[in-house]
């Protein structure tokens, strides 16, 4: 588990609980057209007061086309000793085709900067053959291993042709810090954090990502511990005691391991009330009852609005009571999603027809096949 090594060490997530408001937004081109990070940074400006400067972050999809066959690992290190230890572990299982510092812009708003590296890697075929698992499973296990076994190293992004960029600070500053205007992606998601249960640290900022799944989340999950106990039975380790992490693992489990589709996944984590299910047509009633019965411990209760990003699209979802706000809008090939209409209009002033999805109603956007 990541531990800060400074002498006047602050307590990290999981070591103290502070008794959330947050901001989320997303922009995606259905045509797979790539655009830089300026728009998504601007979307966070009118929502500045939804954050308190203790965390901001972005997920960008389609940004590494020249390395799209390789997993891009973004890792925080306390110091170069941690980096050396982590690289030893990586070399056991991966071919590393490129290792570099993630370029940053030094600005006064972002301080206590750890070492921030990225590695483009491919799992070794011999290792996969010995373990008899597929490469995604191997990468997921290695992420869990590094994040739980190596103090001072934390993998915060591990997908192909995508990357998470996050820090302690306001989101607009985090975007400038990581020079996101220099990246081109077909989809961006963003988060401004107002941590309430845990103190802010770099790893605890959103998005949380595993493989190509990333989550930005506004809210607070009442069912966290039930969800955690359930998901840890399937090999996931919740290292941060922050609720968003567990949503990421639930999404990975239901989509990748259980093979559910997005709509079914939404019906598990934001399951309708039994009284609502009762009013549905027979076939739908059967399906919804089945999902609630099979995955009762993966029902997420309490307020949330989330955007789940993945290779080629996203899903936005509110809790079934819609205890957090979220609106969507479309223009030409673009789809926008945000906690507030003002954020969408900061990206595209000329929007007509803002839509507010109901609680538990997933908004699924898929990029045209082959365009990403």
């Amino acid at each position: 588990m990541f531990k800060s090594n400074s002498t006047d060490r602050q307590l990290l997530e999981g070591e103290v609980r502070i008794p959330s408001g947050c901001a989320i937004s997303a922009a995606v081109s259905r045509d797979g057209r790539r655009f830089n990070g300026e728009g998504i940074i601007n979307s966070m400006l009118p929502m500045h007061d939804r954050s308190n400067g203790l965390g901001g972050g972005f997920a960008a999809y389609g940004i590494y086309p020249e390395y799209k066959e390789f997993y891009a690992l973004h890792i925080f290190f306390n110091d170069s000793m941690d980096r050396t230890a982590c690289e030893e572990v990586l070399k056991e299982g991966f071919e590393i085709v490129r290792a570099e510092n993630i370029p940053i812009r030094k600005i006064p708003e972002i301080t206590n900067v750890p070492l921030i590296w990225r590695y483009f890697v491919a799992p070794l075929a011999s290792v996969l053959a010995r373990l008899q698992i597929d490469e995604k499973e191997y990468v997921a296990r290695m992420v869990m291993k590094i994040n739980t076994k190596i103090d001072g190293a934390y993998v915060f992004s591990s997908g192909k042709n995508m990357g998470v960029f996050k820090a302690v600070g306001f989101p607009e500053d985090v975007g400038r810090f990581y020079r996101l205007e220099e990246y081109m992606g077909y989809m961006w998601t963003a988060h401004g954090r107002y941590p309430t249960n845990t103190p802010g640290w770099w790893g605890g900022a959103h998005p949380f990502a595993l493989l190509d799944y990333s989550i930005v989340h506004n809210g607070e999950i009442s069912s966290y511990d039930a969800n955690r106990r359930s998901i840890e039975m399937f090999g996931y380790k919740c290292t941060l005691q922050t609720d968003t992490e567990v949503i990421t693992y639930i999404a990975d489990y239901l989509l990748r391991k259980q093979g559910l589709n997005l709509k079914e996944t939404a019906s598990v984590i934001a399951a309708p009330f039994w009284s609502t299910i009762e009013s549905k047509p027979e076939e739908e009633k059967r399906k919804l009852s089945f999902l609630r019965t099979v995955y009762p411990s993966l029902l997420i209760t309490g307020p949330f609005s989330i955007i789940l990003g993945f290779e080629g699209g996203l899903m936005a979802l509110n809790d079934r009571l819609k205890l957090r706000s979220m609106v969507t809008a479309e223009k030409d090939d673009m789809v926008y999603i945000a906690s507030e209409e003002a954020a969408i209009r900061a990206m595209e002033p000329d929007i007509k027809g803002i839509y507010a999805p109901s609680g538990g109603e997933p908004v699924i956007v898929k990029v045209k096949d082959g365009a990403y």
């Binding site: 819609k322 609106v327 003002a342 609680g359």
Partner: protein, 239 residues
């Protein structure tokens, strides 16, 4: 006074409004919160998108937006008027206890929850389109009117309207059979006498948004009130 809000944060913008001590025209608004909070007099016209809690604790002033409004407008409003030429977000008029709110299009979840009244203080909310779930949850007073204009096949209200309602009146422009309501309220088709009581508000909606009154009165209303024989106070204990 003309205020360009495009470079102002919410605190500065609201200071300018208070310093103006009179009517304000705001342009370039983008998400600034608390506009007009607690104001007792004057008129504020807003171009752009005002932020959350527009007109919270409003105490007599009038606010008009030229577009949509976000969440929690008119929170705990005590008097005055808010007119939205577009849609509103969640929790419109939460715990409102006076004044009136007119929304041209739809409202989100939890419109009018905890609305209340006392003697001559009877808040009124008119929503031209549809609303999300929990409309008028725990309503204790006041009048909520939902017109469902241009809704097509869409339901006029989401799930669980009127849960815990124990005062006030609600008028939905639909048939009673369309609604799924809790046991502690009663519904009936609004009579001419019932409608006469809300006619001033319907006329005002039509005047504000340039709608023909006849197009609204073409279909009937369902009136919902608490069931005095099955009051909410006995839901948990019979005190």
């Amino acid at each position: 006074m003309l205020i360009d809000a495009s470079e102002l944060d919410f605190r500065t913008l609201n200071e300018r409004i208070r310093e103006a001590k009179g009517d304000c025209l705001i342009t370039g608004c983008l998400g600034q919160r608390f506009i007009g909070a607690g104001l007792s007099s004057g008129l504020i016209k807003i171009g752009g998108i005002p932020g959350n809690a527009l007109g919270a604790y409003l105490n007599g002033a009038e606010i008009i937006t030229e577009g949509d409004a976000q969440d929690a407008i008119g929170d705990t409003m005590n008097g005055g008027r808010i007119v939205v030429h577009g849609s509103a977000g969640d929790a419109v008029g939460y715990a409102m206890r006076g004044g009136d709110i007119y929304i041209r299009d739809s409202a989100g979840y939890r419109a009018g929850i905890h609305m209340k009244e006392y003697r001559d203080k009877v808040p009124v909310m008119v929503i031209g389109g549809c609303t999300g779930s929990f409309l008028g949850e725990y309503q204790a007073g006041g009048i909520i009117i939902v017109l469902g204009l241009n809704r097509g096949a869409k339901e006029i209200v989401g799930n669980f309207p009127c849960t815990g309602m124990h005062g006030g009146r609600m008028f939905l422009r639909c048939e009673p059979e369309e609604l799924r309501l809790p046991g502690q309220v009663v519904t009936k088709r609004a009579t001419e006498e019932d409608l006469a009581g809300i006619m001033p508000y319907l006329e005002e909606y039509c005047r504000l948004f340039d709608v023909e009154l006849d197009s609204i009165l073409g279909s009937g209303f369902t009136m919902i009130t608490p069931d005095s024989k099955n009051p909410y106070k006995q839901m948990y204990v019979g005190n």
